[in-house]
């Protein structure tokens, strides 16, 4: 380690790493790297949705996962994740389908979903889900499927909201709890209030998924 790296590591150590319950198992270089690495949603500018679309997606996300005694989708900045995924992860066909769905939602809302009162927003979303009927997306066992391009818009926006919330820094640490490193105990009680552990990588990503 050279002098510059040493100071970087020292700085990273002093700043600490909020993500991790303990840092003993990490090298200084890793801590440096992770501390210096912003979350995915902070590494890219938002430039895909219009202001009005962004407001609509934000309102939809908060309807799906509202703030309660724990933070909701907006606090976890799931709308940011949704916009980046639509812009950069969906392919052209999938993106066009999603945008069509969003346009349809806006039209049904009289042009501005975000401007509706909360009750009206919910009613419209419930109506869309009703129309989605028994789409394959609602079947069990979707856990390994990477993306269902046959799913109606309402299912797709729900999926991106859920992923954007559950996998976020806020969702991982304030809605779930981080599985502590150090030892493995396989037979401890699960109390009534215990949450799941934060997911470090979605199963659908590990299942290999299909490549395009």
């Amino acid at each position: 380690m050279n002098r510059r790296e040493f100071f970087q590591c020292a700085a990273a150590l002093a700043a600490g790493s909020s993500m991790l319950p303990s840092s003993w198992a990490m090298t200084l270089e890793q801590q440096d790297f992770l501390a210096a690495q912003p979350d995915y949603i902070d590494r890219h500018p938002l430039n895909f949705f219009t202001q009005r679309q962004r407001a609509a997606v934000t309102a939809v996300a908060e309807q799906i996962i509202p703030a309660t005694d724990t933070p909701g989708a907006v606090a976890a900045r799931a709308p940011r994740f949704i916009e980046l995924m639509v812009a950069n992860w969906l392919n052209d066909t999938e993106r066009a389908f999603f945008v069509d769905g969003l346009t349809d939602l806006q039209q049904r809302a009289g042009g501005d979903f975000a401007a509706l009162a909360a009750a009206g927003q919910l009613l419209l979303l419930e109506q869309l889900e009703e129309e989605a009927g028994d789409a394959a997306w609602f079947q069990m066992g979707n856990v390994t499927r990477l993306w269902d391009d046959t799913a109606p818009f309402i299912c797709q926006v729900k999926e991106l909201t859920v992923l954007g919330f559950m996998l976020s820094d806020v969702g991982s640490s304030e809605f779930f709890r981080v599985n502590p490193m150090g030892s493995f105990e396989g037979d401890i009680p699960l109390t009534e209030d215990d949450s799941s552990y934060a997911v470090e990588l979605p199963i659908r990503a590990m299942a290999g998924g299909e490549v395009l």
């Binding site: 690495q37 997306w137 396989g186 659908r204």
Partner: protein
């Protein structure tokens, strides 16, 4: 030839190459290890270790566009993600030919340490029955080695790498030198108790793995972060990076050069001795030659055979040491076949820490002799995984707001218990690799063509693994189960247990290598990765590669010192 710098050259720095480097340097040889992959430093370059999903691109969802372009083969592995993409082969830069009709998936690393960084870490000894299988049922050629001969080398390897697991005293799965086993989930204890009562012929044991449960040879015990394949800075699982390469370095006898693709080996005028290895530097394109007294190919099954095929000459017209015609043929892998169940027992029990290991069900079919109800030879084992349901299994439901949100916060009411069959594959001549001289890679080296398909015996074993899994699920108390359909059988290579293509045997007209992994036709050439395997067993093979590598090194140095390798 007095200008020789090196006594031995080892090609590859993965599981086998790391062992060759350690054993040869510890016996006093000056060793050069040539690695085609990039140089990475232990710990320092495990950039994705402990990274949360929120740090990864797309929160860990695969980068489909990049993967389709650069990693179409590698990205289908469970272990591939942006947390360790730097370890994997770029399929666009380093391609091979995957035939449509007989597809084979070649999983490759591209760094110092090779796939020892990415492996599943499961280690199981072969049994006497495994070494006798070919001779007994007439498939393939007899092994020139038996269990008794290799057992001390298994011990030698296990004591160094550290293997956690439980002694069971089974003839078909001999015990290793064990560190304490990892802990069971409550549900796993329940399952084990029920199955023991209802199906006493089935053993359920903790996975035997090269992951430390206590400090061992200066390496720390596992801290249970989970995804080992991102690299382990505490060296708690065995890799070349954490263990063998440091040991080799400590002797002062090791030189390791990354970014060196071996193009071919050169021999002397007799055709009986290798004199040099020709390499291309992947960064500069520069071609160089290195000489030594002995040569170890540990470049992976397909990699080593590619080098031998590409080293043909007037004296070795069909590839190096290929009088037998066996070189490139008898490619094997383990077929994987997954069966799933749901259990509602122990739903109030939980766990802490992320155990990077599951249970193992050792082979129980055709053990000791042929089962009367079996329309197949050989057998299979299961690796069992226990997963608690959570939001990922339940979010595809209707509803909005606080109720929907709360329904996703806690663990679901059931466990998923998964049995993955690992099925033995018979050696078949038409499962093969060969060179296409009309399709050179970016260095001008002919690409490998792969042709692989499962035979009838593998399909019968797979079907039986579904029938038996159903019985086990019932005995275990599953409330729901689904056994696999035959069209979900894994593609060849997906097991990443590719073996064969330079098999060993006593008969030089049927095999490439002798019982010491030495080429029948070239005294100073040893091949000790998976290519030497004459049959496949159903257990994970890396431990066996390590044991044979250590034994071959011991033999080679004795022969060298006795002046019998012509040096």
């Amino acid at each position: 030839m007095s200008d020789r710098q090196f006594d031995a050259i080892v090609v590859g720095s993965g599981i086998s190459g790391g062992w060759a480097a350690k054993e040869l340097t510890e016996r006093g040889l000056k060793v050069l290890v040539l690695e085609r992959g990039k140089d990475i430093k232990h710990g320092l370059d495990y950039k994705g270790e402990h990274a949360a999903a929120s740090k990864l691109p797309f929160y860990g969802m695969p980068d489909r566009e990049r993967n389709a372009r650069d990693y179409p083969i590698q990205s289908s592995s469970y272990a591939f993600s942006d947390a360790n993409v730097q370890f994997w082969n770029n399929d666009r830069e380093n391609p091979y030919i995957r035939t449509q009709e007989k597809p084979f998936s070649w999983k490759r690393a591209d760094v110092v340490g090779g796939r020892s960084l990415l492996w599943g870490r499961q280690v199981y000894r072969w049994s006497e029955q495994d070494f006798k299988a070919n001779a007994t049922d007439g498939n393939g050629i007899p092994w020139p080695v038996d269990y008794k001969e290799i057992a001390p080398w298994y011990s030698h390897v296990e004591k160094f790498i550290g293997v956690s697991g439980e002694a069971e005293g089974l003839a078909q799965l001999p015990d290793s030198e064990f560190l304490p086993p990892m802990e069971y989930h409550a549900l796993e204890k329940t399952i084990k108790g029920r199955v023991k009562e209802k199906m006493p012929e089935i053993t359920i044991t903790m996975g035997r793995c090269a992951i430390l449960t206590q400090e061992h040879n200066g390496r720390a015990p596992c801290h249970y972060c989970g995804p080992c394949h991102r690299g382990c800075s505490t060296g708690s699982y065995f890799s070349s990076q954490s263990s063998t390469l440091p040991a080799a370095r400590a002797t002062g006898n090791l030189t390791l050069l990354p970014n060196q693709v071996v193009e071919r080996l050169e021999h002397d005028e007799t055709g009986k001795r290798i004199t040099a290895v020709k390499v291309v530097d992947t960064q500069t394109g520069e071609r160089r030659e290195f000489t030594a007294k002995i040569f170890f190919l540990c470049a992976s099954t397909l990699g080593s055979t590619q080098i031998m095929l590409n080293s043909s000459s007037s004296l070795h017209p069909n590839g190096l040491g290929n009088k037998s015609g066996a070189l490139g043929n008898y490619l094997m892998d383990h077929a994987m076949y997954g069966h799933m169940s749901m259990m509602v027992d122990d739903s109030k029990r939980f766990y802490k820490g992320n155990r990077p290991n599951g249970l193992y069900v050792p082979r129980f079919r055709n053990v000791g002799g042929q089962d009367t109800d079996a329309d197949f030879v050989r057998g299979y084992g299961y690796q069992a995984m226990t997963v608690r349901s959570d939001w990922e299994t339940t979010f595809n439901t209707k509803g909005f707001g606080a109720g929907y949100k709360e329904s996703l916060r806690k663990p679901g009411p059931f466990w998923i218990w998964f049995l993955q069959g690992f099925i033995e594959c018979l050696p078949q001549a038409n499962n093969r690799i060969y060179l296409d001289v009309n399709k050179p890679d970016r260095f001008g080296i002919p690409q490998l063509v792969t042709e692989f398909s499962w035979g009838e015996n593998e399909l019968s074993l797979a079907r039986d693994s579904a029938l038996q899994a159903e019985k086990i699920f019932r005995a275990a108390g599953a409330v729901f189960y689904q056994t696999a359909d035959i069209d979900t059988l894994s593609e060849g290579g997906a097991g990443v247990h590719e073996m064969g293509t330079a098999r060993m045997g006593d008969d030089p007209m049927q095999s490439v290598l002798n019982k010491y992994n030495q080429a029948h036709e070239l005294d100073n050439l040893f091949v000790t990765d998976g290519s030497f395997m004459t049959s496949a067993s159903c257990v994970n093979p890396s431990l066996t590669y390590m044991a044979f590598t250590a034994r071959a090194c011991d033999y080679a140095v004795k022969e060298l010192n006795a002046g019998r390798l012509g040096a």
